[in-house]
Symmetry: D2
Subunit: 345 residues, 4 copies
């Protein structure tokens, strides 16, 4: 079985991570990769880490990339690109996995408010599936378009879901204190993510509102079956990869066995690891792998639940989850090509 894959916008960290992971995939073959700006450049000239594996792969102009002949196209582009090309590709029988935000928010008005552009294809948005396998596995299998979750939303949703589904917490006082490695900001020439600015430093950002807020709230509200109120604070930590989400919520069912709740909810999940009671996960324990690890706590002397969740923002938070979705859509075992262990140290 061979799966022809196209990647639109392959010069960012999500793109190079897709290439790294797909090289381990026994069925996928990257047929084409596009970049308007770098068309003609060999991929391995831009990313020497890919030398000897992708020496024949050259960035192509988007309209000459033969995307319509691919079985799957990943969009590793800025917001707005996937929705502009979706109708044509879907019409050609291509299945789409968008790693940007075009197919994450189900409400087009909400999309427009946060992304400052009208949605180009609300009908396709309506049929698209939010690509969080732990929630939407069956729908993903049949989807033509998958909106791959954001990095923060993956960690925060998987961290909170068992509590919300069980009605265990006060959904009006949720706090998600999140820390991200700097690669989450993308491969963009911007001052605040320079080494000399971000190293040996710790900063909050997006304090006036972050685009992942509505995406998280959408997922949590669905799980809770009622609108949630969430304070979401992203911070930048001087690491390349990794998201650490520390989640707080007042318990309304204090008698609940939280450890059992989490273990039961995620039993059988190939990529969610509920750690033993009392654990303190760290981001390096998932570095370069598709695993999300979490630990649930009830801090002494309080009536709060606390959840600690870690993931690699470029893998479970982006490219790895996209391939997990592709596996589901293609009828492959969900873990195909995603079994490499984390890199530690």
């Amino acid at each position: 079985m061979r799966i022809d894959v196209g990647i639109v916008g392959g010069t960012g960290y999500t793109g190079v991570e897709l290439l790294r992971l797909l090289a381990q995939h026994p069925h996928a073959r990257v047929r084409s990769i596009t970049s308007r700006k770098d068309a003609g450049t060999r991929v391995s000239d831009m990313f020497p880490s890919l030398r000897r594996r992708y020496d024949d792969l050259v960035f192509a102009e988007p309209d000459k990339a033969g995307l319509a002949d691919c079985a799957f196209v990943f969009f590793a582009t800025p917001h707005g690109v996937a929705m502009a090309q979706a109708r044509e590709l879907v019409g050609a029988g291509v299945r789409i996995i968008d790693l940007a935000a075009d197919f994450r928010l189900k409400d087009p008005a909400l999309f427009e408010r946060w992304y400052k552009m009208p949605h180009a294809c609300p009908d396709l948005l309506a049929e698209s599936v939010y690509g969080l396998p732990e929630v939407n596995r069956e729908a993903i299998r049949k989807a033509r378009i998958v909106g791959n979750p954001g990095c923060y939303p993956t960690a925060v949703q998987l961290g909170f879901l068992p509590l919300l589904e069980a009605g265990a917490v006060d959904v009006k006082h949720l706090v998600a204190d999140c820390k991200s490695g700097v690669s989450g900001a993308g491969r963009k020439a911007e001052l605040n993510i320079l080494f000399a600015e971000a190293s040996d430093n710790f900063a909050a950002y997006g304090v006036k509102g972050h685009r992942h807020h509505p995406e998280i709230a959408q997922g949590l509200s669905t799980a809770a079956k009622s609108p949630v109120s969430l304070v979401f604070t992203p911070h930048l930590t001087p690491a390349i990869r990794g998201i650490f989400a520390t989640l707080y919520a007042p318990l309304v069912k204090p008698e609940l066995d939280l450890q059992a709740l989490y273990e039961k909810r995620y039993a059988g999940e190939p990529f969610v690891d509920v750690m033993p009671a009392g654990s303190a996960p760290d981001t390096r324990s998932v570095r370069a792998s598709n695993v999300l690890r979490l630990a649930v706590h009830r801090p002494a002397g309080s009536d709060m639940a606390m959840v600690l969740a870690v993931e690699d923002n470029l893998v479970k938070g982006a490219a790895g989850q996209a391939i997990q979705n592709m596996n589901l859509m293609a009828g492959l075992p969900e873990t195909t090509g995603l079994e490499a262990l984390p890199v530690l140290p």
Copy 2:
């Protein structure tokens, strides 16, 4: 005016930071520094950064250091050392600033529970003053013994105080999500703080209870005039210096102007900088300086207050605050020797 100073236990990060800062102080003179283990070693042989300024200073055996002839003695030691020597020194007229925990918790039973040793001098503990100048300035001036606050407690208390003093928040649901640079763990040969373990990583720790919890709760409860319930989560971030505290509390007086509250509370404070509304501080903006910066927020769509506070754990969180206390005790301007700007980048 010359102030003779002794330092007990000078081989850790707090000790070398005291030496760095005192070198800039126009009145203090480090007369002696002790280390049982490294007695006979020149200070500048252990710390080449001190070469040419402290070339005559040699680590001395504690009992040969002439501490009783000093005006001030700083204890930069493990817990338990200062209280064992306090009575003799105080009796000799020496004033003590303890950078460990011996004089932080006013309740000897609480001290014993968290530090696993009985308090050696409850009477001196009773007369000692908790060295947070923004709260206890006048008492510090006259104190014979000052318990210098811990690094986390300084940031969390100064961050929460205005809200608590104003009765603005629900004191039963306080959350302090704190991130510390690795120097906060001290200069100890331990696996988990190796570069190859702590770099490119982010971790929670102390999830089963951290010794700074009772110290923080003591200060917050005093300010609130009622016992508080606090979830305090320390994390390790891959930076050398810096504490970042993200504080959350449900507002009970939603009409309050939080920005004005904070600006008024800290007006005139030389080392607390309330940033403009909407600010996101970062730890490097206080690196190597005695300033604590904070910003107060009311996140959109929630009824919570959020405070972001940053400090250098070795300066305002330890050695700098200790010198600030010494200045007060000596009748000097509080900022003497502490005016160097932060080192950025």
Copy 3:
């Protein structure tokens, strides 16, 4: 085909890296792993990154580990351990790959001088093979004992070899200016490799002599067919993984086409990548992979050759090269289980 593998001393970075890489190997099965100090501990409790793959693997007492039933035993131990157990294991038909220094220096007297212990089995040392496949491939295939090269020696030898074999440089003035990530110092609780010491810092070390010097000199002298004189300066750079070797030598055959020389020497080598003329490699381009990349330069206005070589010290510099050797010894394709691409960013 199944290859039963034992690992002696699995609690260091080399040990956990062997486990990570062997999990990707289609034929190897880790049958036992030893640690005297941590016997009884589950491997995945010490290294959460290994959870779900090695959950049944427990550190065993060395004498209860059934090592004699393994086809291959890797020693990831301090120097001196492998040579003490080699005779018994070899007698049982086990083939040994020692990642320490016991079988690197062919001269027992030289070993004793640098490692301060007599060699325990000079006869086995004599038959053992130095495990640098690019030099000793055929001998490795048949070896019973392989001395796996050190991290610096791998990079410096592969960097200099073509020049020396071609008689192109003055072997009396070789300079190897080397920079290593901190994991090269091992997983040991020592002050100088603490995060707060090694981060945001750059240091030389071993300036009075480093144990890799005689190993490098042995290999270079063999290649040059005459004794070389080498200045070897190791430095510590604040990265977890990676060795960067900058090599200098005065040219005695200035007419030589260095680029062609290197490309020809390493044509067909699966793990040595000669980059195009003018390239500047970086360590992240080989992070977590078994590739060594190099570039050869002739700096303008000088008569020197300069070579830049990068490797991951834990992979091509240790565990990966050990598996490469195992593949050769087992008659497998040399790249088996070692094809994962570098992790970038």
Copy 4:
């Protein structure tokens, strides 16, 4: 005594470092600072580390900054700016310290070849003084224009000078293997100095020729009284600040006592610290200070000299040395305002 100072181009790392250091200077007062792009912005809004000390200082348009009324003007600008304004300012009696390259290379043709622009004022270049106090102290005192040395050239020249002045080495085979922290690349939005690119990485750069090469060669040739041949290899190390220069040269006077040579050459120098024989300096031992530390070695088994030199690229390699020059020019003690100890850890 009050010295009015102007800074042209204050938005880079050199600019903010000048402000940090000048705040400690008892006589200097920053009267104006310019930035065409950020005119109107408060300095402390861009750099919160400067809050409360520079709250009244606002970036001004260059032509409205009243530079002609300053006693000293520092140019912390790209190459080419200082030489365009020098004649007018010097005519107004202002003394200039250029931290860019306009007044470093004495040969205008060499300047044009490396900087791709003709020199605007060769006559002023001829009278200007190269601002390395350890070489040109007396000339600096009287200079109207000082070309402040580059960061690499400061370390490499001070490291090699004693050997060259003593005729101790073969000047045809000098090697300077240099490692710089990332702040040396400036505060510019460029991909290769992003945190996610430069962290956990080590890279060579400028392998085809670096602009500091002719500057270094000029100084070394002057000291040697004959043209030198130098291989200069810059590398990027994942630290914010710091330059580490490892220097190699074949000895031609092997009987020389190198330690004594260096101690004698730098006796009395306030900012050059010759460490004891056998020392291995590290960059953090000079972090944020104006000290350059060095150690000289004769590696065992070779006939080479090796020198290890460390400096903070933003202080002794830029802003600190500029203030050292200003002190000399103003007739102040050379160390005025530059006595703060290094920040360690």
